[in-house]
Each structure stands twice: as C-alpha cells, then as structure tokens.
C-alpha cells in the first residue's frame, strides 16, 4: 500500500470528524467567544447529558440493535423527577401535601421505572425476536403515552434548590454534570473491557450465531444491555430536568437519533461488534461542537436541523462503506 492511499483511507475513515473539527476551528477563529472558558464549560454540561444517553444506545448498536425509545425514556425520567422534587411552597405543585423526598430515592425511582421499560425492550427483542427497530419504536410511543397520562401534560417547574444545584454546581470549577458523566464513562469503560458481559456484547455483535454456539447466553446479555441503557436514560433525564429547572412531556424528544448519530460518527458500527467508549465520547463531543458552532455562526435553527440530518446520513454512509470494503 502506498503512502498516498494511506492518507486517502485515513481521510475517508475519519472524514466526518475532520470536517466537523475544521468547522469548529473556523468558528473559533472567526467568533471571539467560542473558545471562551464559559462556552467550553457550557458545551461540557450539554455534552454530559448527551453522552450518558449515547453510552446507553452504544450497547444496543454494538449488538446490532438500536433503541428508539431512548429520548422518551429521558423525558419520562425528567417528568418523574420533576413531580417528586418540587418546592413545598410552589403554587403549581403536582403532588400537593407530599413533603420533601430524599433526592437519591427519587433518582432511584426514575432508574427503576425506566429499567422496567428497558427490560421489556430486551425481552421483546430477544425472546419474541422482534427487530429492535420496531420493538423500541413501539416502546417510544408507549413511554410517551404513559408520560402524558402521568403528568396530564402539565409543564413542571418550581424545583427545590438542592435538585437544581446538581446541574449548576461545581467542584473546583468543574461542573458536577461533567464529573458525573465522567464517572459513568469510567464505569461503562470498565464494563465493556473488563467483564464477561462486555466480551459477550462484542461477541454477539460480531456474530450472534457463533456466540450462541460458543455458549454465550445471548438473550440474557441483550436484556441486560437494554436495561443498562434504560438506567442511563433515567440518569440523563434526571440531570436534564435539574439543568433546565423544569420539565415537560416533550423533553428528550428526538435525543435517541442524536445519540445514534453521535455513536456512528465516533466509530460505533451499525453493523455490530465494533465500538469503544472513547468512540462514543468523541462522537458526542463532535456533534455537540457542531451544534454550538452553528449557533455561533448564526445559522438559523431551521437550517441547523437540515445540516444535522445530512451529517447523520453521511456518517452512516461512510461507516457502511468501511464495512463493505472489508468484504
């Protein structure tokens, strides 16, 4: 292989990241405040919630599945947290007469509720053999419906300070959100690389039939993956609620698509078996930088959607191209 084709290969394999980094660089040079500490800290907080969702989705993608219910589960978790963590003196309090609940208990409730949906996703996909795309699409609607019924579509607000501080607070100048995301990233990295479950996950993605023959409990592994993912959506929803200081049923809408796109941009293959935690982090970071750049460049929101859509398609086309080349 000549050096020239080497460069071409690197460019094609990482093309989308390079183009987006170029865009970031141009934005940084032309717009003064882009590389300011304030904006970077802002991006890190935005990234934190998104990367937690993407960690969850990555497991589904690596096993050749997907999870389209991610965004709605984030919304449900934010709404559950919202209804349980309002100030006692807030006039629009959802559960009047209920005193202040311990915050960890509320977080646990969010996680448990979402895990139930994650488990159902896993069971539907592994035991009933429903394609993940369809199964989780159905779950997306179910979760949204449940959220509407639960909140009666009322917007939630008036949160306790202790709750919102989780999002706004800093330790030695580092936002709590960033620290939490970092800790979860470490945990996931450990699971992916140092546990049986992680190895089984990659094996299923690499060749499900061969994994089964090798004695891997494919069904159990998949159920755990969808439950873990749901737990992460719950945490993300809980944090997003704190960050916004309010929640509504529409919170998290469409986040699953951004998470899938970010994973793919970072190098998690939609053909399964391939994808590291670092890929997920890079993907989300690049995607968030893209959004921030477009805001700084003054591109209207409507057009931003178009750009994001194109980026998603190009990223997946490039990913598939890599796979076909291997054949």
């Amino acid at each position: 292989m000549t050096k020239k084709t080497d460069i071409k290969k690197i460019l094609l394999d990482n093309g989308i990241i390079l183009v987006l980094l170029l865009l970031v660089l141009v934005t940084g040079i032309t717009k003064d405040n882009f590389f300011s500490l304030n904006n970077l800290s802002n991006i890190s907080v935005n990234t934190a919630a998104r990367v937690i969702i993407a960690f969850g989705v990555s497991g589904c993608l690596i096993t050749r599945g997907t999870d389209l219910s991610a965004g709605r589960q984030v919304g449900l978790s934010a709404c559950i947290a919202g209804t349980l963590l309002q100030s006692a003196d807030y006039s629009g309090k959802f559960f009047k007469g209920v005193g202040d609940l311990p915050i960890p208990l509320v977080l646990l409730t969010c996680i448990l509720v979402c895990c139930i949906f994650g488990m159902i996703n896993g069971i539907v996909i592994s035991w009933l053999n429903v394609p993940a795309f369809i199964g989780t699409l159905g779950m997306q609607l179910v979760v949204y419906g449940i959220c509407l019924v639960y909140t009666k579509a009322t917007p939630l607000g008036g949160y306790r300070r202790a709750y919102t501080t989780i999002a706004t607070g800093r330790l030695f100048g580092i936002p709590y959100m960033f620290i939490i995301a970092f800790a979860i990233g470490l945990l996931m990295w450990f699971i992916y690389n140092y546990t049986r479950h992680g190895k089984y996950m990659y094996a299923i993605g690499g060749n499900e039939a061969a994994a089964e023959v090798s004695g891997v409990n494919v069904k159990k592994t998949k159920i755990i993956i969808y439950m873990t993912a749901a737990a992460l959506y719950a945490v993300a929803g809980f944090l997003l609620g704190a960050k916004s200081g309010g929640a509504s049923v529409n919170m998290g809408n469409g986040y699953e698509l951004e998470a899938i796109a970010a994973c793919t941009i970072g190098g998690v293959s939609v053909n399964g078996g391939i994808g590291r935690i670092s890929s997920v982090v890079i993907g989300v970071l690049v995607f968030e930088l893209l959004k921030s750049s477009m805001q700084f460049l003054g591109i209207p929101t409507d057009y931003q959607y178009i750009v994001q859509g194109v980026v998603i398609i190009v990223a997946i086309a490039l990913d598939i191209r890599k796979y076909i080349a291997k054949k």
């Binding site: 140092y194 546990t195 049986r196 190895k199 089984y200 990659y202 094996a203 993605g205 690499g206 060749n207 039939a209 061969a210 994994a211 089964e212 023959v213 090798s214 004695g215 891997v216 409990n217 293959s269 399964g272 078996g273 391939i274 291997k326």
Partner: protein, 502 residues
C-alpha cells in the same frame, strides 16, 4: 439433426489453488435422460454452473444441437433453451404460482401510455403449461401452498413453457416421498417423448436404473467416462466414482481408543421428520469416530442436535453414564462437549473481534476475579499458550480473526474449545477449505487430543480423510445410520455402498 442435443467439450475451471474441473466432456442425446454421477466435490455442480454461465470456464466449448454456444449468465441460458431445477428451489412462496413462473418476463399489456402486467394472460398461459405437464394447479394459488415436489413440477412447467431443450434436475428426489418420485418420473418420461433432454444428478442407484439412459461419471474434477446405463453394473459405478488412490498423507494412526464409553446416543429422532431418525451410537474415550455419508445424509443435523443447536423429538443422550438434557449449546458445554461447526464463517468465527477474544469467548467463566472482573492477564496467557501450541500464524493476539487464513481460523476455533477442556469434541468437516499443510497440522492436533483421552467425532465428506483418521466409521444415508466399519476394514467402496443404501 446433430447427434447430440448438448455437448460440453474439454471444460476446465480453476479456482485459486484448486483445479475444480479438468477437461470434462458431457454428451447428451436428444430425448434422453443422462445421469451425472460422482462423489461430493467431484465437480458436478461446478460443471453445471459453467453450463449456466454462473462460472466462466477457463477452457472448453458448449454445443447445442451442433451449434457452438456462448452463455453469459443464467438468464441467457434460459433463453437459449437450458433450464435448471435446483436442489434447493429458490421460489417466492408468498406470490402466486403464475407470478413465479413468469417472474422477470411478465406478459405486458398497454393501458394508455402505461405498460402494466397482463394478469389474465399470465394466468391463462400458466394454466396451459401446468396442464401440459399434467399438473393442473390453480395458477392463482400461492406457491407456498404447494409441497416441495409440486414446486418442482412448477419449475419444470416453467422450463417447458420456455421451450427448454435441456432440463437439469439436480438431486430432484432428495426430499420427496415415494409417490412424489413416481409423479416426477411420469413428467420426466413425458418430456422424453417430446424430445427434451435431461441431465439428472443423483446418488440414488435405483433411480438411475429406472429413469436414466446414459451415465457420465466424474471423479475429483476429472472425466471418468460415459456408459449406457444397461451396460454398467452398480458395483462398477461405485468403483468408477471412488476409484482413486489415496494421495493425501495422514499422520500414523495410534491405538488410543479405549473401551470406556463417554458419550452414548440412543434412538435420537429429529424434531423434523425429514431429518435424522432413530440414530444410536457410542463414543469411547481416546477414540476418533468418523461419520461418513453423502450430502443430505443429515450428519450435521444429527451432531448439531447432540450439541443443542437443533431440536429433538425423542431419544437420549448419555454423557459419562449420566443422561443429560441438552436444549442449547450452553448445556452441551456444561456437559463437557465442544463443537466445531461446518460453517466456519456463519457459526464459528467472530469476524470483527481479535484472536484473543475468539479464543477466550466460551471459557470466560474460568477467568473471573471475585466472580466479576476478568483476569485479562491470565486470558492473555491462555491465548499465548494456544497460539504457540497449535502454531497459529498471526502477527499478534490483537489481530482480527477475519484477516487470518482458513487453516489458522480453524486452529483458533479449536483453541476456543480446548480452553474449555471438553471430554468430547465434535468436528464437522474440520479441514474444509483448508490448505494441505494446515490440514496435516489439524490431523496432528486431533491425534494428540485422542492420546490425551479426549473423544472426537469427525464428520467428513472426504473419504480418504475419513479412512485415514478414524478408528471407527459410522455411515449415514437419508437420516438413518446404515452401517459401521472399523478403521482398518474401511474402503471407499464399502463406505460408498453404505452411504447409498437408500
């Protein structure tokens, strides 16, 4: 009129590293049924694929009615009068019979500026041709509502409707009942009287006797000869099919087999009534037990059922004197059985994973610290040890398995099972698609395992391998066990005659 309807002259075809066909001749008389026979891998399918333009032949000529023919692709062949009824039919069961017959050549009708499919004409024509071969099915019925035999006759009707001059029947009776075979033969005889020539690929001697006029035998990609069926005996056919010298070299066999039975299978019946039935056998410690038979003998299905990959309706599996319930591979692994599957790509390798991951995947339970964390260092040692022991040629343990050669991939899969230290290792076509050098190494590994007291079941379609490696050979035919021969008494002839005892 030319003497022959179809003539293939000096057809040769090579694949990288193998000469699949070497100057094959085939001459089919008009209105005759011409049997094409040979062992698995003799090159029958390759020859037919060359005829249909699926493979491009390296040299050779094809004549149809004396005229030289250039065939570009299967569609081209169809239009020139060659049709094939496949071993595995490829119909679209959810569409109607007529639509399947006219797929790709629907009769069209004008509807203003648009061209639309003329369903009425299509159904009428389909009905006509079905009637023509005396199979009056409703052309509007879904193809999937027919039996395999009926689908075959639809394929034949399709061939007739395209005025095919030569129809190839590739093991047409392999999944048919006796009555269905009779019906098929009625159609075949009818076509003969109309002057259609047929090439009939089959292993079943009785059928050849009943239906074929001429017979051409192939062996290892070479042309053996052509006879009139009435001039050649069954024994002679078998002799001509296998009559080669043993050219492969096998490591010397060792008398490692003991009397201690480690695995016993009693009256095992498949959940699928067309698959294996009432199979019983015993496997002893230190033994290499060969399983021979033709393609379709259900050897793979039997072993996959023993390993829990397929369902059984009845029967017992006894491991180390204890009856076990195996419903999935995990159960079999717990009971000390390992399985190297036939389809290495489909159910063996984890393509996009490293050699290390591929070796360790089924034994991770042995490498847990505190029941939770994997001891990566110990796993690394396991992999290093196996790479050295089986001399797997790889740049590193991190190399992706898909970049290795077939032989090295197979050694990685063998390591995967050795890491589990099983008592019984089932190897389904362990040397398929592997070069000669690596084959020898794999034989050596098998002999070493037997020496350590492991019991090995080897399914092989290569007779010399079967005879060269096995202490005992079980032969299957059509889902039944038709006989057993000891390794030193085994000859290609006696195995072949058991393998064709339909």
């Amino acid at each position: 009129m030319a003497e022959y309807r179809l003539e293939m002259k000096g057809v040769s075809k090579s694949f990288p590293g193998v000469k699949a066909l070497d100057k094959i001749n085939l001459k089919v008389r008009p209105g005759s049924v011409h049997a094409l026979m040979g062992e698995n891998g003799a090159g029958k399918s390759t020859l037919m694929k060359c005829l249909f333009g699926i493979y491009k032949m390296d040299e050779g000529e094809i004549f149809l009615d004396g005229e030289k023919l250039q065939i570009l692709n299967p569609n081209d062949a169809l239009h020139k009068g060659l049709a094939m009824v496949h071993q595995e039919l490829q119909p679209i069961p959810e569409r109607t019979i007529a639509e399947n017959m006219y797929l790709g050549r629907y009769p069209m009708a004008g509807m203003g500026p648009l061209k639309v499919i003329d369903h009425k004409k299509m159904n009428q024509e389909a009905a006509f041709w079905l009637d023509n071969v005396k199979m009056p099915y409703d052309p509007k019925a879904k193809l999937g509502s027919l039996s395999i035999a009926q689908m075959q006759s639809v394929e034949i009707a399709k061939a007739v409707s395209m005025s095919a001059k030569v129809v190839i029947l590739d093991e047409p009776t392999s999944s048919l009942t006796d009555n269905e075979v009779e019906a098929l033969f009625r159609i075949v005889r009818d076509l003969k009287t109309r002057g259609v020539s047929m090439i009939y690929i089959s292993h079943k001697m009785a059928e050849i006797r009943e239906i074929a006029d001429d017979i051409t035998i192939m062996r290892d990609g070479t042309y053996v000869g052509t006879w009139e069926v009435k001039d050649i005996s069954d024994d002679e056919i078998v002799r001509q099919m296998v009559g080669r010298e043993l050219t492969n070299v096998y490591p010397p066999q060792e008398a490692t087999a003991t009397d201690e039975v480690i695995l016993e299978v009693k009256n095992l019946c498949s959940i699928n009534s067309r698959s294996f039935q009432n199979v019983s056998f015993q496997l002893r410690k230190g033994e290499i037990l060969g399983f021979g038979g033709l393609v379709g003998a259900q050897r793979t299905e039997l072993m996959e059922a023993v390993f829990g990959m397929r369902g059984i309706r009845s029967g017992e599996v006894i491991v180390n004197g204890r009856q076990v319930q195996i419903t999935r591979p995990r159960d079999a692994i717990k009971d000390g059985i390992g399985m190297i599957t036939e389809d290495r790509r489909g159910t063996g390798i984890l393509g996009c994973l490293s050699i290390a991951d591929n070796v360790s995947i089924s034994s991770l339970n042995h490498y847990l610290k505190a029941g939770l964390v994997l001891d990566l260092k110990e796993i690394e040692e396991l992999v290093d040890e196996n790479v050295a022991k089986l001399s797997i040629k790889t740049p590193s343990n991190r190399t992706l398995i898909q970049s290795l050669s077939g032989g090295n991939q197979q050694k990685v899969i063998i390591s995967r099972w050795l890491a589990n230290n099983p008592d019984v290792l089932i190897m389904d076509e362990p040397t398929r698609g592997i070069d000669v050098g690596a084959k020898y190494e794999i034989y050596q590994i098998m002999i070493n395992l037997a020496r350590q007291g492991k019991a090995i079941i080897m399914i092989s379609s290569e007779m010399p391998e079967l005879i060269g490696m096995s202490h005992r050979i079980m032969v299957m035919c059509g889902g039944r066990l038709t006989g057993e021969v000891s390794g030193h008494e085994a000859t290609q002839e006696n195995i072949m005659s058991l393998a064709t005892r339909f």
